[in-house]
């Protein structure tokens, strides 16, 4: 799962896309996450507009389904603000974590350590956001909506 697909369509006047520093940082943290989580199948990082920053799956449908999942989680949260989710199915598990305006969706095998996986995902998002912010290419992401919890 070392291959990552940077899902930006390239900078341009009409579609600036996610910032290059964020894309590079996202690719790096996804590779690190794959090393930390041997059961990780695929993962993807999405920005606050639910546009794919970087995904590891080669399938073009993967980002669409991940966005559909994030939207479903958001709409199911009611008046609360969605922070993270753990969905267990018979053939695998899916984790979603939001942090600093970014969302990370990961598909894993069955029976992984849920809290550890969520923690690693949150740290990966913080790492990506920090790297993108410190590069100066991206404005620091605020801690408002989807700012993530402080207890991870």
């Amino acid at each position: 799962m070392a291959d990552t697909n940077r899902k930006t369509s390239g900078p341009g006047p009409d579609n600036p896309g996610p910032q290059a520093a964020l894309v590079d940082a996202a690719a790096r943290v996804l590779e690190n996450l794959a090393e930390l989580e041997p059961e990780l199948v695929n993962a993807g990082i999405f920005d606050r507009n639910l546009e794919a920053v970087c995904v590891t799956s080669a399938s073009p449908d993967w980002p669409k389904q991940a966005v559909a999942l994030l939207e479903a989680l958001d709409s199911s949260s009611g008046e609360e603000v969605f922070d993270s989710a753990h969905i267990a199915e018979t053939d695998g598990e899916v984790f979603a974590v939001t942090e600093e305006g970014l969302s990370l969706v990961a598909v894993t095998g069955r029976f992984v350590l849920a809290s550890l996986t969520s923690y690693d995902m949150r740290m990966a998002l913080r790492d990506a956001a920090r790297a993108a912010s410190s590069s100066g290419d991206v404005e620091p992401l605020d801690n408002g909506e989807n700012g993530g919890s402080e207890d991870a």
């Binding site: 199911s76 949260s77 603000v81 989710a85 199915e89 053939d91 695998g92």
Partner: protein
């Protein structure tokens, strides 16, 4: 000394106990769930037969199928 049929009965009942425990574990392990945590710190296990959980599960299942 136990009568021979008691020994057989004990053996059979221990096997059925083991089988029942195995089935309980298997049922528990195959259980599907949707667990959401909110920024407030609250956590919610959505009812699996609810519309929200079905939509989430469907998206998750497709993601798992895609690999």
């Amino acid at each position: 000394m136990l009568k021979p049929h008691r020994v057989v009965l004990d053996k059979v009942s221990s096997y059925t106990d083991e089988a029942a425990a195995f089935m309980r574990r298997r049922r528990h392990q195959r259980r599907e769930f949707v667990r959401i945590r909110f920024q407030s710190g609250a956590e919610s296990d959505l009812p699996v037969d609810g519309a929200g959980a079905r939509r989430i599960s469907e998206a998750a299942r497709r993601l798992i199928e895609l690999g």
